[in-house]
Subunit: 331 residues, 2 copies
């Protein structure tokens, strides 16, 4: 087993976010699930876009956002995800590469177009996401670069992408490649609905010891374990997963690693502008510490700092100089 | 002559801005004309995009930005401009319509793609623009809706669009339509290079009394008149143009209308984040007052308030509730 040359390789949705402010009445009128992520088809995406105010396009995608944070913190990263051969695909590819992240998955010709997520941001900073998956759901197992996967210390997988069939097969194969190379597999649950639909898969992966690092929020943990008590859920999952990270929004986060437990409070934020990407950037900060062998408490603190940065502005890609920010905050 | 049913109809470039922060060293390394607007071809646009950091896409275009401000202030507006039948064209069309602005120019099939402006924003808030005109320069005279033009109190023309041949013909024809209907013609000089190339055209239009309202900045005024003294330039042009508005960045702006002169200081801004659209939004505020018959000083004040809003954030489309902002500032 050779030493890894990459820190993290991620497989995730390749999405451009289309973001606009919206008032509460609009959320209600359009029948949106406030604060959640809903998959939408072409017709619904068009209907929602027509109803949306003047927007900004900013590259997104959960795992891609995490990599953007990791790369900004100095980690060496690569991304695998499917865009179409269109202008939004070019935008996504440009932005991820501009962050210094290797991205070589070939564009997919023809329909459907590159994925987009229509995000309505209410005055409380909450984001309501409506995702048109487009090309993203057609990531084929053949797009995996086994050598690249084997070269990364951590393979990071996005739960959202477990839903469509082709990428699910691709991720299963990637887990095998990473484990055969002696690498760690990290998984983010992404959203409760994913666990509702594929909980059996995830529980099996956990029981088989395929997941080394698991990111969940409170709600996802409850869905995964069937336990409404947070601590009971933590105990149950941490018995099977070497590193468990559970985020609790404004209540901070906890991690249990090989029996050691640490907690962190949420980092104070002057004004929550847009919560899009909070979980993604928490994972970025945590993993950045983890791959450097930082103490568990410091990994959590890094996560909290990055999450606070992302919710203080529009969009899920970091704007501040994260390395400088972290240096200031950690002292 | 019937009463106008629209306040302002504008003809301008239909552009999506691609914006990213950049340091001074990058501006120098890429050989960019800091603070200016440079036209770029496909190859140079690709080269600059490759060198650019992770970006945001936000609809732009000088006259389109002005209309966005006008519409936000309650004016009834329509836009004429050429996008291609592609994703960025959809973005532009969505955003302008989302502002309540009528936009019916048919998309243009095939190459070139929709115009984009690669904007590097330095830490001092200065924007350096590199425009790939794409489809925008192929606005045909046939795309004009004469009835719509005749229905607007003001026809607003973007100087940038005087450069390519087809839109120049279209604008010449539009001036004829507007004047025949007894409407006013407003013109923004846009940038000194436009006047360097087409100064004879502009001076002829002014001499013939075709321009009712002219927007220039200090530098453009000097280029137009050949006079380095600001006051001498103002005197020369205001003798021929019924309403002259001359902006002077941080020094504020002056207007001379039918012999009456007014001045306004620049509105204070906590932090200049991005100057993109400052002139466009000044014109929006001024025209919003003008079409309602507001006193000259108040028209200038409205311009200053809108310009201050736009430079306090990324992008050239207003984010704050301009009507509320104006109500607060005017007291």
């Amino acid at each position: 087993m050779t030493a890894p040359t990459l820190d993290v390789i991620a497989i995730g949705n390749a999405i451009v976010d289309v973001m606009a402010p919206a008032d509460e009445a609009t959320i209600e009128r359009l029948g949106l699930a406030k604060g959640g992520m809903t998959l939408v088809d072409t017709a619904r995406a068009q209907e929602l876009y027509d109803a949306m105010g003047s927007a900004k396009e900013i590259s997104g995608g959960s795992a891609a956002n995490t990599l953007a944070g990791l790369a900004a913190l100095g980690a060496k990263c690569a991304f695998i995800g499917q865009v179409a051969d269109d202008q939004l695909g070019e935008v996504f590819a440009h932005d991820i590469r501009a962050g210094g992240i290797a991205f070589e998955t070939p564009m997919r010709a023809g329909d459907p177009p590159t994925a987009r997520c229509l995000i309505f941001v209410t005055p409380d900073g909450e984001r309501t996401m409506n995702t048109f998956l487009g090309a993203s759901q057609f990531l084929p197992p053949a797009a995996l670069d086994d050598e690249l996967i084997a070269s990364a210390a951590v393979l990071y997988l996005e739960g959202y992408l477990w839903d469509p069939e082709e990428p699910r097969s691709a991720m299963r194969r990637a887990i095998g490649v990473a484990r055969a190379a002696g690498r760690k597999v990290a998984f983010t649950a992404s959203e409760s609905f994913v666990i509702e639909r594929h909980g059996d898969d995830f529980r099996a992966l956990i029981d088989e010891g395929q997941i080394d690092i698991l990111f969940v929020n409170e709600h996802e943990l409850a869905t995964l374990t069937g336990m409404s008590d947070f601590e009971a859920g933590v105990a149950a999952v941490s018995a099977k997963v070497p590193v468990l990270v559970a985020t609790r929004s404004a209540k901070g986060a906890i991690a249990v690693a090989h029996g050691e437990r640490a907690e962190v409070a949420a980092e104070p934020v002057a004004r929550v502008v847009d919560t899009t990407g909070a979980g993604d950037l928490f994972a970025a900060g945590f993993l950045a510490g983890h791959v450097r062998g930082a103490p568990l408490g410091q990994c959590l603190k890094l996560g909290a700092i990055c999450a606070a940065e992302i919710i203080s502005h529009y969009g899920a890609r970091p704007e501040a100089d994260l390395q400088k920010l972290v240096a200031e905050k950690l002292g």
